[in-house]
Symmetry: C2
Subunit: 353 residues, 2 copies
DNA sequence: ATGAAAGCGCTAACAG
DNA sequence: CTGTTAGCGCTTTCAT
């Protein structure tokens, strides 16, 4: 390997504002003023400082700066995993909006371990993060609300903003903002869509039990059923991980027996991908023999075979809105729960009679 | 207690180590010692400090700490976009490894704008990042090597490590580490695989011109052709963006005319997805009428129809190795260029004769 | 317009 | 083992 260049005879000590001042023949105060740009400085002094900065290739020490002045601070993004397409999309939007507003973006992953979430939040307190965004649904364990209450107050006491993004507030009156999208409404719309296509027996598949996102989607599904006067069959809701594997295995098993449902509402597109594959292997034609829909509208959903009818979530808007809510708490907002809508493709057809 | 005059319950000022010391009735040094854990402290003192920390819900100021002691520092990850599946996977691995070694992970995106790359690196210098990882290929513009040389030296002077990850070093003897995977070898193996299946006319599709990754893959393709004594036809290499859309549109156009090739080697799986869709729409059966392969082995590649034969890149190993190279420069490493291999699925068949 | 100097919150000698 | 104190690099009064 090329460790060759590392041992430069150069003094590794970072240059300080003092070095610059000496080099330019001015005081440290002047250098600071030039660098911050918000004070009037003589033209001569300014140019000498600038030249010295150039020649010494100086950059300020962000830590020292943070210690004295009110700093921009970073935006911390806490997600389950960056590899989850939905989260990556939100992260992308957050990152862009944060950059646009002059903030750095720290991404932390929890791997779904709840304890990591509070550990990460404490880390952010240490860093003096300007805001912490908790993105994506969670499994609401018993102690979750209490833990969040504590976290919210700790952050608030440190002058940081907490934002729940794509996740409901665990309790009312928390010092935190909430920016979500209409999970329940999207599921309602999708279920209605299936019903109007003639389906009466719809399997809802996937979504961890107690997971906020899953719960909301199931709630929408049930409300639609209710509104259409279709009796709810508990056996038709089969919770499970939000994974391709779960969708595949569960449907594979179900396809073995006598099948009662004519459509599958997968909890998300990943689950739907598994369902489609299971159908293909079992020789069940989609949508002719079985209709399948998903939720999220991942980029690849359009490429599924058949292309997937699913619910679109406005990732970009979500990410941007979350950053704005974090940075401009006082701003009036049009809507804190963003709309979702059904994207119709080729995976639904009226059931065979 | 502190701030007698300002006893407001909602005093937003962050608590300091001094508050803790006062509350515990010990000196600030003792508090610092207990917190850092690396000094011997009396049991009584320790417990009093710990209790005070609890009661005050205190967390240290990471900036102040960074100013005095040799700190862990963060690992900065610079990528084109987090939404690119390959980059997200590497980011995931980096994040995990960094966390395991006690480092925070900052993710910055460049949106492919080269100027953003150097801006971001300067930001990292200000933050005193422990390491900066430049992940993924780039289009090597004319001034790219010079810019990287400057960046590398600036980072080196600040005591940070620069790591090129999944990208070759722009010049030799740079104070930076390189951790890559065998792009050329993977393409060679894949091309050989197609040739042994009987293909003699293979279209290489996609990959921006001048992009390091694309160049390496094309090099492997050409070397294989050469080794099999198959004349190289320049018309059979069609560069373009690494996108689904490009694969789709280009193949759509090509399928209109008389077709000479019997197989398509897509520059990556995204391009392959576009190719498959174009084929489906044009009624060209894959793999019966045309073989299609990709590169990357995205999670969804197994779900393509037909499932895609592609080249697997060891994302996880790549991310972990990059972090290790950054954090332990002196460690001996088995290999700085990780192996790739062909994953055989259902999208290749001997050409019709 | 510029310089001197007092901290920001913390750690690390250095005494005791 | 514990307390005192001198900075880390920078910003910001306060003088000049």
């Amino acid at each position: 390997m090329t460790s060759a260049g590392f041992g430069k005879p150069d003094d590794k000590r970072r240059r300080t504002i003092r070095d610059v001042a000496a080099h330019a023949g001015v005081s440290v105060a002047s250098v600071s003023r030039v660098l911050s740009g918000k004070y009037s400085v003589g033209a001569d002094t300014r140019s000498r400082v600038l030249r010295a900065v150039q020649e010494l290739d100086f950059v300020v020490n962000a830590h020292a700066r943070a210690l004295t002045s009110e700093q921009p601070g970073m935006i911390a993004l806490v997600v389950h995993a960056v590899t989850a397409s939905f989260l990556a999309n939100v992260a992308q939007a957050v990152e862009q909006q944060a950059a646009a507003e002059g903030h750095l973006c720290l991404v932390c992953t929890t791997q779904g371990r709840p304890d990591r979430e509070v550990a990460v939040v404490n880390l952010m307190r240490e860093q003096g993060a300007r805001a912490v965004l908790l993105v994506g649904g969670v499994v609401e364990t018993e102690d979750y609300p209490a833990r969040m209450r504590q976290v919210a107050h700790a952050l608030d006491a440190a002058g940081s903003r907490l934002v729940f993004c794509g996740r409901p507030a665990p309790a009312p009156d928390l010092p935190a903002a909430v920016v979500t999208y209409d999970n329940e409404g999207g599921a309602y719309a999708m279920t209605s869509f299936l019903v109007s296509a003639g389906h009466r027996s719809i399997l809802f598949l996937g979504g961890d039990e107690g997971h906020t996102t899953a719960d909301e989607r199931i709630a929408g599904y049930r409300r639609a059923l209710n509104d259409w006067a279709i009796p709810f069959d508990p056996a038709l809701v089969q919770p499970g991980p939000f994974t391709r594997t779960f969708g595949y295995q569960r449907v594979k098993a179900l396809l073995g027996k006598e099948r009662t449902f004519t459509a599958v509402f997968a909890a998300n597109d990943l689950v739907a991908a598994g369902v489609l594959r299971a159908c293909r292997e079992a020789g069940v034609a989609v949508p002719d023999d079985l209709s399948v829909v998903g939720y999220d509208d991942l980029p690849q959903a359009a490429d599924f075979v058949p292309s997937l009818t699913t619910v679109r979530i406005p990732h970009d808007e979500l990410g941007r809105a979350a950053v704005r809510a974090a940075l401009h708490p006082e701003d009036p907002v049009d809507d804190h729960v963003l709309g979702t809508h059904v994207v119709v493709r080729d995976s639904v057809r009226p059931p065979r009679r």
